[in-house]
């Protein structure tokens, strides 16, 4: 009975694939790519459960179970740097995610096409400047004695703030400079989405007497909703990631307690280069978490607006 039914189902499935054979043809090379270049090497993840050495190779190195993870979690600084990573990533998410959307919306309100293009082009310039250079620049900009930012604060009657040397301010600096660097670049995807909104919709709304705000609420934002949703879900996957280049070029010993993150700690320990098992275990730990978070946010999104990654 069941055999017949499953065979019928199999036949049904084959039939369904045959029905969209052109789509299968389109998809096949891409899927082959994923299998060859992404799934064949995936056995490398076993390094996290092995005492890896070059002489034996990945396959023949001895299994050690969860020992590597135990070692990782037992390291006294691990949880501190992991917490810093998550806190900084969460702040970056909370403030950094809306920034490019707001920028795109504001740019959209600019009427002169040439001015709009110019602003757009300039706003993405910082994306191309490396943190090595920016680290030195911010150090001077934010200096409590000679930096222009504190000059303004002093002129307004405030006390100078040691932004990079004060643990209370350091995370804020990371978030703010991160936004400054990437908001322009990040707004590109939203500008692309904005450009595909039907201009007739705006015209119709204007005839109805809708103001700027009403148009944004009733036309612009709903049109952006799908792309915002997907970007939001993808961004939640970054909640366990840190930006090594940024932190490394801006932190110092005085802000270790709030600014030392997983990648900088691993770098200072020199283990990343030499201890593959430990580095792989850490990567796996982060990625499993990221995966779980994305699954969750995807599920929530699907419940709210029937939209998700899968």
């Amino acid at each position: 009975m069941t055999a017949i039914r499953s065979r019928a189902r199999a036949k049904g499935l084959a039939r369904r694939y045959w029905d969209c054979r052109y789509l299968v043809v389109l998809m096949a090379p891409g899927m082959l790519y994923f299998i060859v270049f992404k799934y064949i090497p995936i056995y490398g993840l076993t390094i996290a459960f092995k005492d890896y050495n070059f002489a034996d190779g990945i396959l023949k190195s001895p299994w050690v179970g969860l020992d590597v993870f135990r070692e990782l979690f037992a390291s006294p600084s691990f949880w501190e740097v992991f917490r810093n990573t998550v806190v900084i990533a969460s702040l970056t998410f909370a403030f950094g995610f809306p920034a490019p959307i707001i920028l795109a919306l504001l740019l959209n309100e600019v009427r002169s096409a040439r001015f709009k293009k110019t602003v757009q082009t300039i706003s993405y310039l910082p994306y191309f400047v490396s943190w090595v250079i920016l680290g030195g620049l911010f150090l001077q900009f934010l200096s409590p004695s000679s930096g222009p930012v504190n000059y303004v604060i002093k002129a307004l009657g405030g006390e100078p703030i040691f932004f990079l040397g004060d643990a209370r301010w350091f995370r804020g600096v990371l978030v703010a400079t991160g936004i400054w660097k990437s908001a322009g670049w990040g707004s590109i995807i939203y500008l692309a989405a904005l450009s595909s909104i039907d201009s007739e919709l705006y015209e119709a709304a204007e005839i109805d007497g809708a103001g700027r705000w009403a148009k944004m609420r009733s036309i612009t934002l709903p049109s952006l909703a799908p792309v915002i949703t997907i970007m939001l879900i993808l961004a939640t996957g970054q909640l366990v990631e840190d930006n090594f280049d940024q932190v490394f070029n801006m932190y110092n010993v005085a802000v270790y307690s709030v600014g030392d993150v997983l990648s900088t700690y691993m770098y200072r320990s020199g283990l990343e280069d030499m201890e593959y098992s430990l580095a792989t275990a850490m990567g796996l730990f982060k990625n499993v978490l990221a995966f779980a978070i994305v699954l969750l946010s995807n599920a929530i999104s699907k419940r709210i607006n029937e939209f998700g990654i899968w």
């Binding site: 056995y43 310039l125 039907d198 799908p226």
Partner: protein, 300 residues
Amino acid sequence: MGRIGSTRRKSGSPDAFGAINGAFMVLLCACTLYPFLFIVASSLSSFNASAGGLSLIPRSFTTDNFARVLSDQLIYSGFENTIVRTVLGTGLSLIAVFALAYPLSKKYFPNRGFWTALIALTMFFSGGLIPTYLLVRGVGLVDSPWSLVLPELVSAYNLVIVRNYMQTIPDSLEESARIDGANDIAILFRIILPICKPIIATIALWVAVWHWNAWFDCLIYITKPAGEVLQLVMRRIVIQGSDQLTEMLGRGMAMQQDEYITPEGLKAATILVTTFPILCAYPFIQKYFVKGVMLGSIKG
């Protein structure tokens, strides 16, 4: 900047929001333009610009930094290799992404969830550097430009975004073509891709910039000097520049400092030389954001 370019504004009242918005944009430009101008100043300075504070005026003007950067023979082959990988990588990546995204955007595609998940999983789990190198070496791609294109051909991240964009296109658009007997591939090219112009431009920009800036894969997969990409050549000029004099002292070579080259100025010059071409490409892509084909025009 409250210049009113559009004819649609009915009232002649001053546009307060537009003025504030414009002012904000100008401020934004000033903030973001500054580091770039600082780099330009550094590249033209014969002293370390940072030692002169935050000034945007070069400290004692020189073009020696650029002369040194452009004197390295490898940067010409580097430019060529970078252009090859960027064009090849972006072109193939676009084809692959859109060919994958279209079937996966169709609700009726069998096991759609499974196939999507299979791809999305690679955003989180990968085998790492060593098995990937073994694979690339195993299929004989070492020292071939394909080793810079194939291993990262399709980004699952881009794929998800494109598929999502395609899902927002109403099915009704395809129906008339289907009645005319067009197959899925024809529909993709005739109907879907024209609508997708803005997202094609976005993904193309992302992939092209990624390829333009990538160098680590080249360190691993390319072993011959002639195959090096631009960023790698530039990176080396910078590293050499930082320790050239200490090196000379260590090697017992007389110091020959006729040119005024500072490590910082050298670095600034390399950044400008490498970023300039990709910055020039932006305006061409930008027009697709502004003049993206409107959904409505097709609907109507």
